[in-house]
Structures are given as C-alpha cells and as structure tokens.
C-alpha cells in the first residue's frame, strides 16, 4: 500500500564557489593540488592572523541569491560555529547563523507538466574545512590532514520541506545546478565535492499535513545517489509506518554499495555549536546600488532561455528544455545554429549523438574536442550529399573522439558518398546476382527483402553508397 504515502523532503546543498582565491585570504582556490600547498597562515588559522572577506565571495553569494529569487539582506554578519575537528584549523568555522545574506527565495520546477514552487529558506556564506586522509594498511592507525580546501568559500542553500518525491528532489538539484552554472558561481562537480547535498526526509499518507519525524541522509555524491538514497529511505520509512512502528529522528548515511541508508547517530545528542558573531569580521552592509549592479550583471537564466529557444528557433518545449539544461550545452547549440541555421536538425544531432557520446565518455561539454564549427562543417557535408546520414554518424564519432575536422576524416577514410548511378548500378547488379533467392522473395511481396539487398549494397561499398539512390536502382532493376 506504498502508493498512499508521499515524501516530505528538504535539501541542504553546499556549493563551493569558483572564486580565484579563498574566502578570507589570497590563497588560490583550486582543486587537485598537492596536499597542503594552497595554504597560508590565515587559512591555517595560525595564532594572531585575521580573516578578511574576499569581495568576490560576497558578489557570488548575492548573484546566487538573486537567481534564486531571494531577498538580499542589507545588513548581515559572520558568526563562528564552534566545534573541534582535526581538519578544522581554528576549531571553529566562519559561517552565518541568524542573519544569512539571502532568504525567502524559490525555484520553480515543472513536474509531469505541473508547475511546482520550491521554497528556498536561506542562502548563507561559510568557509570549507580541510580534508582528512585516513591511513591504510600499515598506516591504519594514523590520519593525515590536507588543508588545501580549508577556507574555500561555500554557499549553503537550504530549501523548505517542499519536495514531495525523490524524483522531485533530483529535478530540483538538476535545476539548481544549471542555475549555478549559468550564473558562473560554481562548477558544481559533485565528484570533486564542489556540490554536496544532505537531505531531510519524512513520509506521510497522501492528503494529510502531518509532519512525521524526519531523518537526515548524508554521503550522497551524485544526483543518482540522491534519488536512490531518498527512494530507499522513503521505502524504509513507509515500511516502518505500515508495520505499526515509529520512525526515529536520526542522521543516516547512504551506503552506495548496499543501496540502503544506515543509522549514524540519533539527533538527541544534538551538537551545541555556541554560535556567536565573529569579532574579527565587520558586519556586511550592502547598498541597494550594489545589489542592483549585481542584478544587472545576471545572465539569461535557464527558464528564460528555454522559452526563448521555443520562440526563436521553433523548437519543441522538450528539446528546448534539454538544450538549456546546462549553459555550456545551450551555448554550444546556439553557436551551431549560428553556423548552420536549421535549428531542428542541429537540435537532433545534439540531443541524439552528442549527448549519447557525452554520457558514454563521462565528459562535460567543455571537455570534448568537438566544437560547434566541427558540427557545422559536418552538417554542410551532409546537406550537400557528400556523405550519407550513416556516414555522418561515423564522422561525428571520430570528430568527437579525435577533434579532427569532418572533411579531413571523410577524405582520409574515403567516406565520400557514392551517388554516381552507373557505379551504384554495377554494385546492385552484383548483389542481385549473388542473392537470387532474396530477389525472388521480394518479387513475391516480402518488403523486408529490399532492406536486406540495400544493406548488402551498403556493405559492399563500405557504407558509402547513397541509400536513397540504391533503393531507387534496386526497385527499378527488380521490377
């Protein structure tokens, strides 16, 4: 009777900002350096040093707040969140507590054709901690600290418990990621930890407004994991209620391998962070001019761009949605359309081959060797009949893989389409002679036989034959 339940989900998303330097010092903010190389006395919290806010962090945070329809506080401050941890250099984290920079925002989702508005409770700034590397084997009894990440600027985005299903949660995150990338504040790479998500979830019978005890799920490191973890947890909670039990409020970890959530600690022992205003940092006072300036600098956001794609390129809403789901993809599409003004054809290639290859190779748009001019050149070859649609796919794959130009590939591999009727007629004759049985089948009305014969011609020409021409010639010869 699981269908009678709905989930009540709220998300806490941590986003690492891609500023050039860290939040409170001038150390470079980059991922993947040798341990403890991007550090200075300030981000290490050595005695006597003081944090000074990186203005870019403030601007990125305001940009994010505006993109998420938040109110931007004209007066805000930093607080200290006190707790001991070996990778937390000062043993407190500079964060924001009662006066976050942004609050009361929302993000709109379209779920199965229905518009849903998901509330954003708050967006606040904080600094990241370092990282512990636990020894293995002989070093199992020691842990190493890498402080490169300490002081990297983070935004914490907290939603209202407005999400009603794991699928909605995933859609929300995808949309949020797209927005953050559009406004260029983060690269949102979950696998590098630049986007991290915790989820609060409870379940209740559909149609009621009760708020049952919730659990908090941690350790989810992909959108798929969020979806799976929430589904698993929802099922677990439903089963407890169905069996007449009670869900306990606790923190649970997602175990990717087992596909289950595992209890970590119960919420009873809630930490006392002893928040208080950080006396080393002056309060943040923002002028309406500053906020207006940041607002003016916002780029076109995904929703607006989607609408424009439908309007300007006459694309189906579905296509427009997929193409605008990430800024690099939408930019790629628009660059292609500028070079080859047939929006639907371009859309088909991007949504089909391009996305398929991206997914298969686990690459981002920006990481591929394929540029819009590659695709434009290939589409021109296709249009002028130099290559067939089938060859085009081969060419596309090779362009994607090697970054070579379409003409170069076609020439090097001799892939130019054979449209010369005399040459094709010679090959058709050979094929017909070799398969008299199939020819007979076709004559007796088996339409499928034609496809076989065409296929044989293609094979004989190594895919270079123009299929329409071959079709025509076979039909003429057999009738």
């Amino acid at each position: 009777m699981m269908a009678e339940y709905e989930a009540v989900i709220g998300l806490e998303v941590h986003v690492e900002l891609r500023t050039k330097s860290k939040a409170f010092c001038s150390c470079p903010n980059v991922f993947g350096s040798e341990p403890n190389t991007n550090v200075c006395p300030v981000c290490l919290g050595l005695p006597g040093v003081l944090p000074v806010l990186n203005q870019a962090v403030l601007e990125y945070a305001v940009r994010t707040g505006l993109a998420l329809n938040c109110e931007i506080a004209s007066f805000s401050k930093f607080d200290r969140k006190n707790y001991f941890y070996p990778d937390l250099p000062k043993n407190y984290q500079i964060s924001q507590y009662d006066l976050p920079l942004c609050r009361n925002g929302y993000l709109e989702l379209e779920v199965e054709g229905v518009k849903r508005r998901i509330g954003i409770t708050r967006v606040h700034m904080e600094e990241d901690a370092g990282k512990l590397i636990h020894g293995e084997g002989e070093d199992a009894d020691c842990s190493l600290v890498d402080t490169n990440r300490a002081g990297v600027p983070l935004l914490e985005i907290v939603t209202e418990p407005d999400l009603r299903s794991p699928e909605e949660a995933r859609l929300f995150l995808e949309k949020l990621k797209a927005i953050l990338q559009y406004i260029d504040v983060s690269d949102c790479k979950m696998e590098e930890g630049s986007l991290r998500c915790d989820a609060n979830i409870s379940v209740r019978p559909v149609g009621t407004n009760v708020l049952n005890p919730k659990t908090e799920i941690k350790n989810m490191n992909s959108f798929r994991a969020v979806h799976r973890a929430l589904s698993a947890e929802m099922a677990r909670q439903c089963a407890i209620w169905e069996a007449g039990g009670r869900v306990v409020r606790e923190t649970r970890a997602w175990d990717e391998e087992q596909g289950t959530t595992v209890g970590m600690r119960t919420k009873e022992e809630a930490s006392d962070y002893r928040y208080f205003p950080d006396p080393d940092l002056v309060p943040i006072v923002l002028s309406s001019d500053f906020i207006a300036r940041v607002r003016e600098g916002l780029p076109e956001l995904p929703e607006a761009r989607k609408q424009r794609f439908v309007r300007e390129y006459g694309l189906p809403s579905y296509d427009a949605g997929v193409l605008t789901s990430s800024r690099p993809l939408a930019d790629f599409y628009e660059a292609c359309v500028r070079g080859y003004p047939d929006p639907k054809t371009v859309s088909n290639w991007i949504m089909g081959e391009f996305l398929r290859l991206l997914k298969a190779s686990d690459l981002e748009v920006a990481e591929t060797k394929l540029t819009p001019s590659h695709l434009v050149e290939m589409l021109e070859l296709l249009k002028e009949g130099t290559i067939s649609g089938k060859i085009a796919k081969t060419v596309f794959e090779e362009m994607f893989r090697t970054g070579k130009r379409a003409r170069e590939i076609v020439e090097a591999r001799g892939l130019v389409q054979i449209s010369d009727e005399a040459e094709l007629a010679r090959v058709v004759d050979e094929v017909l002679a070799a398969h008299p049985g199939v020819v007979a089948d076709y004559r007796s009305g088996k339409e499928k036989a034609l496809a076989f014969l065409v296929g044989q011609v293609m094979k004989a020409t190594r895919g270079k034959a123009n299929p329409q021409a071959v079709n025509k010639i076979i039909k003429e010869k057999i009738q």
Partner: protein, 503 residues
C-alpha cells in the same frame, strides 16, 4: 642620566646630533639588561644579535646621509603575544613555548620599517589573562620600584622593562587594562588606542572585540611618536579603521586651558584605596590649575562593566583559543607512558597540560556563557550592557572633552597577595575595563606615589580622540616631575628570585 634611562625622543636628538650611535644606545640597553634582568625578569626571549644588526644598519644609513625617522635606532621591546617572524612568540604559555611564527605582526613590520631595534619578547600573563604577570607559565616579572611587588599585568614584562631601562619603549596589548594598569604600577605612560586605530594582525588574540595594541613609554612625547608609527589602516585587519592618521606630536602644545574634564563619581567610590584617591584628586586639581574646567559627572552603568567584561572576554577567548589542540603546531601532550590515545584524549591531555589555570578558568567561563540555554542569559545580556556602557560614554563626551579617573583602584600589590582569589584580582581592572567595552582610547600616566610605589592617572577620550588625550596628558606631565623619576630597584622579592624556567 645614562643612555638607557633616556626617552626615545631624547635619544633621537642625540642620534641626530651625532652624540651617540644606535649601536652605542643598543649596547647601553643590553648592558642594562645584563645588569638588572636577573632581578626584574622582564624578558622571555632576548634578541641581541638581530638588535645589533638593526642598529648598525641604522648607523650606516645615517652615515650615508639618510635621515631616518625619530624611532630609528631606538631599542624597543615587544610583548610576547606580538608575532615576530623567526622569533619565538610564546604568549608566556607552555602551549606556544616553541612556536615560531612565519610572519610579523603589522605593528612589528611598521616599527621595523621605522628603524626600530628590537631587544626581545617581554613576559606577560599567559595569553594576556591576568593583572599581575603571575600567570606567566614561565616566571613572574618584578616591579622595578620594589621587587617584592607585582608589575601589573598582563603587559607586566613590557612595563617593567621600560621602567627599568631594559627597553626604551615597548608595545603591549590591552584587552581590559593590560597596558594601562601595568603602566600605572611601573610609573610610566601607557596608551590603549581606539579600537581599530592600530592593526591587530599578528597579535595573538585573547578577546578580539576588545584587544588593542598600544605603546608603553617613559613619557607622553614618546607615546605620541610610537603611536605615529603604528597607527593606520591595515588591509589585513578588516576591523582596522580606514582613516588617515594625524601627526600626534602636533597635539603636544603644553596647553590644557578650557579643556572640559569630567570626573565620574562612580570611579571614586567603594573599593578605591583612599591613598590612591588622594593622589588622583591632587592630579585633577593640577589640571584645574592648568586651566581645565573640571566637573563631577555620573557613569551610571560603571558597576556592570566588570561582570559584562567577564562574560564577553572569556566567550571570545574560549573560541580564539580552540585552535590550540596539538594537531598542527604548538604543544602536544604525549600519551600516557607506554599507552596510546585517541583523538579526544589527545585534545584533552594537550589542553590540560598546555594551558595554565587562569586560561582554563576563562575558557570554561566562556564556553558556558555561549552554550545553548545560557547564551541569552549571559552573552546576549552582556552585549546589551556593553551597548549601555557605550551610551554612557557617548553622553559624557557630549559634555566633556576628556574623562579622568584613577587607572587602578590600588597601588601595586605584593606577589601572591591577590593571586589566590581571581575575583579580587579581577577588581584590579575595574576602572580600565569599561574603556575596552566602549572601544574608546585611554591613557595612563604617572601622577604620584603611595609609599614609594607609582600611581597612575587615567584619561579617556571619545573614539579617535587620541590627539586630545595626548594634549591633556602632555600638559599635565610637563607641569609635574613624576615622569622624570626612575625606579630604584629596591626591596627584595618575598622569596629568592625564581630561577627562570622559561625557554
């Protein structure tokens, strides 16, 4: 007077005229250190070698025709909570006994740029918590006026060194009176500048919203000269004020005519040693003689300053001192003999062994005051009181140019006299603490003696009113002989000098 007894401006004059070289002056000061340090015990670390290098460098520059500033070539000491690149900065704590910062505090950089010759690092109460320098983890410093008495705290080493001629001037830090009270006890001038006038970068934090670095000098002119060198905006400290700073010596006119002076009656009530009261009242009469307009006034929330301070300062300290955990630098306790320990045990042993009792007391106080359920009752209430105290001062400064009071309610006391009772010790700062809560500047200068021990007069001014402070202080000083007196280093410590156990 011998070289080590002179002021910075007197020595600067001699340097200018070629009557002495920086090297000679430096030699004189180190000779003095060798002569008296075993009795005074002001230094945690002496940096003789680099001092001579710096002095020679200044002499070379002068020979080559450069005209260095008024502090160039003058030996100065630094309280041991000011970070010095390459030189151990201990905060007189076991916790930082071997900590060598890879950076200089901004004030150290500024003084170095002004040509200062650093003599070393001066003893203090551990992490600047205390009023007698008895809380140093290494050894107590003695008062040069009488070795059986404390020099005050927490900049006790700095005050004693300047008074005894072991440094021409020094920098200290003042969180609740830690420059002014020892200056008062040692008969010198001590200034706590306006919060934000001097960069705190490189000052090992005790309570960030109250800490301020300031000079300890032999007279008011030196005070103005040192302030000139260290004041000003620092991009490394976001709480430092982005204002241009004037030449503070331009305020030293010798004139106090027409200055409106407020005397809050709350600073002359219960708890004030009547002998101190008498000396301070005489000093106020002196101001009147100089043409100042003196009037009694009221500081209604004065009695709340001490409790308010003892919530806010420990709260901030509990957080500021959390970084000393044995993980990355400083002291780390070893596991029990033959045993092993987990992370929590390592933290607990490190902090138990690394911190002294007063530091632990304040960390616990602060942790308690910030914890959920007590935050509103203590910390938040203290913040509200802090606002009321600020407002009291604002009101007073609508009416008066400066406010005066005793610096400390008592003359210097004997070792051990108050050390056993923290609450009695805390009262030592009852007149200085409100100033830190309000963030205003205040100065202590010698105004007489009680049984051969110095008494200080405290002068307070509105934010960034250092000029006015110095003007009034200078006028008073120039009309009295107290700043010319030099301590006799008499008396004997209660017990034999403690062997220096320090690093």
């Amino acid at each position: 007077m011998e070289l080590f007894q002179l002021t910075a401006h007197q020595l600067a004059e001699m340097l200018k005229k070629g009557e002495a070289s920086a090297e000679e002056i430096t030699r004189a000061v180190f000779a003095r250190i060798y002569e008296v340090e075993d009795r005074i015990q002001a230094y945690v670390t002496v940096t003789e070698e680099t001092a001579y290098q710096a002095a020679k460098e200044i002499d070379r520059k002068r020979r080559e025709g450069e005209i260095p500033g008024p502090l160039a070539g003058i030996p100065a000491g630094l309280k041991d909570n000011l970070c010095t690149r390459g030189t151990r900065t201990t905060c007189s704590s076991r916790m930082l006994e071997n900590f060598v910062p890879p950076y200089d505090a901004t004030v150290v950089k500024k003084l170095a740029a002004a040509g200062a010759v650093f003599t070393g690092k001066l003893n203090m109460d551990e992490f600047a918590m205390g009023s007698s320098t008895e809380n140093s983890a290494f050894f107590p410093t003695r008062n040069p006026w009488h070795l059986g008495y404390v020099p005050g705290g927490s900049s006790g080493g700095a005050a004693a060194a300047v008074a005894a001629g072991e440094a021409v001037y020094a920098l200290g830090s003042d969180t609740g009176g830690s420059i002014r009270q020892p200056a008062s006890f040692c008969g010198i001038v001590g200034l706590k500048p306006t919060y934000g006038l001097v960069s705190r970068f490189g000052l090992v934090a005790f309570a960030s919203s109250l800490d301020q670095i300031g000079p300890l000098t032999k007279d008011v002119r030196d005070c103005a000269l040192v302030l000139n060198a260290i004041a000003g905006h620092d991009p490394l400290d976001s709480t430092s004020a982005p204002f241009p700073v004037p030449d503070y010596t331009s305020y030293l006119t010798g004139e106090a005519r027409g200055v409106k002076v407020g005397v809050p009656r709350e600073f002359f009530g219960k708890g004030l040693d009547p002998r101190v009261g008498e000396v301070v009242r005489a000093a106020i009469s002196r101001l009147e003689d100089l043409g100042a307009v003196v009037e009694e006034c009221s500081f209604p929330h004065a009695e709340y300053a001490l409790p308010c301070y003892y919530i806010i300062a420990p709260a901030e300290a509990s957080s500021n001192l959390a970084r000393y955990d044995g993980v990355r630098y400083g002291y780390r306790a070893a596991p029990e003999k033959g045993g092993n320990y987990n992370l929590l045990e390592m933290y607990m042993r490190t902090r138990s062994e690394g911190f002294g009792p007063e530091v632990k007391r304040r960390i616990m106080l602060g942790t308690y005051a910030l914890s959920s359920g007590y935050y509103d009752a203590y910390y938040l209430k203290a913040l509200k009181l802090r606002t009321l105290i600020r407002q009291d001062f604002n009101r007073l400064f609508e009416q008066f140019d400066v406010i005066v009071s005793p610096t400390s309610p008592t003359p210097p006391f004997r070792f051990g006299e108050k050390a056993g009772d923290p609450l009695v010790m805390y009262l030592s700062d009852v007149y200085t603490i409100p100033i830190n809560l309000a963030g205003i500047p205040a100065l202590s200068l010698p105004c007489g003696f009680v049984e051969g021990l110095p008494v200080g007069l405290q002068i307070m001014a509105p934010p960034f009113g250092e000029g006015t402070l110095l003007r009034v202080a200078y006028a008073y000083e120039q009309s009295t002989p107290y700043h010319l007196a030099r301590p006799p280093l008499k008396g004997e410590p209660e017990q034999e000098p403690v062997e220096k156990t320090g690093p």
